[in-house]
């Protein structure tokens, strides 16, 4: 008589998977390089105000760290989206996914473990971001905003959405390269559409038959959709347009929307994974 397999609680499985994922993310150089790039981008933007103060002798910025923090968190989120996609695709390509599913792992626990692990890794980088910005504040003289802790903490929610987005896109691919490529294209479209819209709005239009007009309206429509779909838009809405300027209702709506979107993406990813199976296979 063979003994019945010992029941392992799902939460414990999620915790084990999350620990493994966080250790893998934090064990490499990538996350530290990404954090450094994020801080360099933030300083580069802050230099605009520093130079303006130097020239004019006086400056009254509402929050000199709003744009720098936005960009820093966007860079970090992008890195974790790529990490999630790479990690998920690699698990399938290396056969780890198949092995895991022989144990007490199902689609939901696997995806939750991956999500929680990468959010923990993201959370570990936040003190580094805060310390870097504190150093910049000491050298520049620009005081850190009182909302910085809240911005960093609440950024965990859209960061989770970004990670979920990366996982979802990677579920459909069997190779790491394909996962990165798909995520890169989608992220480029999402971030590029917003940038293109801003640029097109600056183009003067002097005739209703101008082709720029159709482009502007198309980009406005795309952006209106992305405003509610893009995880990067949620990051900006919660941090830059919400907490940073004290618009707590905006941030709250953004957080609620991001949580719902993350749950939907995880459910879709689980369904897709179940439909596709966990075995190695070509695309």
């Amino acid at each position: 008589m063979t003994p019945a397999p010992r029941h392992v609680p799902a939460a414990r499985t999620v915790a084990v998977l999350a620990r493994r994922e966080a250790a893998a993310a934090l064990g490499g150089f990538g996350v530290y390089i990404a954090t450094t790039v994020a801080l360099v981008a933030a300083v580069w933007l802050l230099l605009v105000d520093v130079r303006a103060l130097d020239v004019a002798g006086i400056l009254v910025p509402v929050d000199p760290y709003r744009a720098p923090l936005d960009v820093a968190l966007l860079v970090l989120a992008l890195f974790f989206a790529v990490s999630a996609a790479v990690s998920t695709a690699r698990d399938r390509a290396s056969g780890t996914l198949e092995v895991l599913f022989y144990g007490p792992v199902d689609e939901t626990t696997y995806l939750l473990g991956k999500l929680v692990g990468l959010i923990v890794a993201y959370a570990v980088t936040l003190p580094l971001v805060a310390a870097g910005l504190f150093g910049v504040a000491l050298l520049s003289g620009f005081a850190l905003p009182g909302t910085l802790p809240a911005s960093l903490v609440l950024s965990l929610v859209p960061a989770g959405m970004v990670v979920g987005f990366g996982i979802l896109l990677a579920i459909g691919t069997s190779r790491v390269r394909s996962a990165v490529l798909v995520l890169g294209v989608v992220a480029f479209v999402m971030l590029g559409a917003a940038a293109a819209n801003s640029i097109v709005l600056m183009v003067p239009i002097d005739h209703p038959s101008s082709p720029v007009l159709a482009l502007r309206d198309a980009l406005a429509g795309v952006n209106a959709v992305l405003h509610w779909v893009s995880p990067f838009a949620y990051m900006q809405r919660i941090v830059g347009e919400g907490v940073a300027i004290g618009a707590w209702q905006t941030a709250g709506i953004g957080v609620a929307g991001a949580l719902v979107a993350t749950c939907v993406m995880l459910a879709l990813a689980a369904a897709w994974l179940r439909w596709r199976g966990v075995q190695r296979g070509g695309e």
Binding site: L39, L46, L53, L59, V136, G141, F142, L213
Partner: protein, 446 residues
């Protein structure tokens, strides 16, 4: 032949009636600074007005066309477009209906168009103001014409005298006396011609407006929502002029903003009353079809035209940490160009000398080198919420700011180095007698 038949048929048919156009509300609204006519075609949605201000409602029929460049529906509202006659009804949230009958009004600019505050004068006073305006304007025009005539006569007299002088007569008459009659003060005030329209001033809230025709029926297409909004709060802003760039002031309207200064020049702080509004409402006030602001939770600070009286007894208290380090009073200043090669200027406190000179600005001076961390107006009852944090900073060189950004990389390198040292120590111990067997794989595990 066919063309002729078609042309003949067309001539025989009666012309189609012109389209009546759509109902367009064309209210005269103010943002507290100026009055503007804003067209609200049906596509523009509900009307937005500033609460507790005088609003003149004008309802017209006009053609409405979509203008793709601005993504707005533009109404051909002109003075010639037909007015929709009737009684304006305003229904508040409790359902109370108030009928507003048209009354006479005019727009009065006591300091001239584009200068100072405009006022809607209504009722019987409108006719009186218009009459006195016409009388004063005519008197000013007459006085100017008389002055110009006297100037022309003087010029003619001088020319005549010069002609006589050119002939070198034996007895040269005395020259005409110097012309000393001053030019009359220019008359800048302006009033629009009196008209009749429904006029209201609404408390903050949401309403429904509609027009009832003389027969008692509702005019189709006139029922709209109306929002009257008020400031969320009021405070004190500052226009700050650096002493070395006095023509390039910076503004600090939000009390939450910190003022950063390098401390290389004096600062002149000019207090300004400001009001905080919901950004979406305030933007829609003059641009009801704007696509710019959609977030209903954004707010903005706006200066109010009722500026600070330059003669008011206002002073600024200076603080360095928790210690009060002094007070500075509001004073008038005048900018004087310096002569010489430097081509600079000096800002001096203005001392009225009875002449025609006037101060260039009125402000509170903060001397360079004064160590302070915050300022606040004394006696804040008149100008509330005036506290500002001031930080004097000497920013490091641009490249130095990137050093803290490298912190995560240094941390990772250190952690990795420590981990490698520990691993190597462990492997050495393992290779020692009694340790692990030879052949242990050293280095990083895959």
């Amino acid at each position: 032949m066919l063309r002729r038949l078609i042309a003949a048929a067309a001539l025989a048919l009666p012309l189609p009636a012109l389209a009546e156009g759509e109902v367009v509300y064309w209210p005269l609204v103010t943002d507290g600074t100026e009055y503007r006519r804003i067209a609200y075609p049906p596509q523009a949605g509900g009307l937005v007005v500033l609460a507790d201000t005088t609003v003149v409602f004008d309802v017209r029929r006009a053609d409405v066309n979509y203008w793709p460049i601005t993504r707005e529906h533009l109404s051909d509202v002109t003075r010639g477009s037909p007015v929709v006659a009737g009684t304006l009804e305003i229904v508040d949230e409790a359902g109370t209906v108030t009928g507003i009958v048209p009354e006479a009004y005019l727009l009065w600019y006591p300091e001239g168009v584009g200068a100072g505050q405009a006022e809607v004068v209504r009722g019987e006073r409108a006719a009186q103001v218009y009459e006195s305006y016409l009388a004063a304007a005519r008197a000013a025009a007459d006085a100017l014409r008389d002055h110009q005539r006297l100037v022309a006569e003087h010029h003619a007299a001088v020319e005549a005298w010069l002609k006589i002088a050119a002939t070198r007569p034996a007895q040269l008459p005395p020259p005409p006396p110097e012309f000393t009659i001053p030019e009359p003060e220019p008359y800048n005030a302006f009033a629009t011609a009196p008209e009749a329209a429904p006029i209201v001033s609404l408390r903050p809230g949401r309403y429904t407006i509609r027009l009832r025709d003389p027969a008692g029926g509702l005019v189709p297409g006139t029922e709209r929502h109306l929002t009257a909004f008020a400031p969320l709060t009021r405070g004190t802003g500052f226009v700050i002029r650096p002493g070395d760039r006095w023509t390039q002031p910076v503004i600090s309207f939000s009390p939450e903003a910190t003022v950063y200064a390098t401390g290389r020049t004096d600062l002149y702080l000019q207090p300004v009353p400001v009001a905080k509004y919901v950004a979406r409402d305030f933007t829609r006030l003059f641009r009801p079809q704007s696509h710019d602001v959609v977030d209903p939770f954004l707010t903005l600070w706006v200066p109010e035209l009722s500026g600070v009286d330059p003669a008011a007894d206002i002073s600024l208290t200076l603080w360095n940490g928790t210690e009060q380090v002094g007070t500075r009073a509001l004073a008038p200043f005048r900018v004087t160009q310096t002569t010489g090669r430097s081509l600079g200027y000096v800002i001096e406190e203005f001392r009225p000398g009875g002449g025609t000179l006037a101060p260039d600005f009125t402000a509170i001076k903060l001397d360079r080198g004064t160590a302070l961390t915050r300022v606040a107006l004394a006696g804040g009852g008149q100008l509330p919420d005036s506290e500002r944090h001031i930080r004097e900073v000497v920013p490091a060189a641009g490249w130095a700011l990137f050093v803290p950004a490298l912190l995560p990389l240094f941390l990772a390198l250190n952690v990795k180095a420590v981990a490698r040292r520990r691993r190597q120590s462990a492997l050495k111990l393992a290779g020692a007698p009694g340790g692990a067997a030879p052949g242990v794989v050293r280095g990083k595990q895959g």
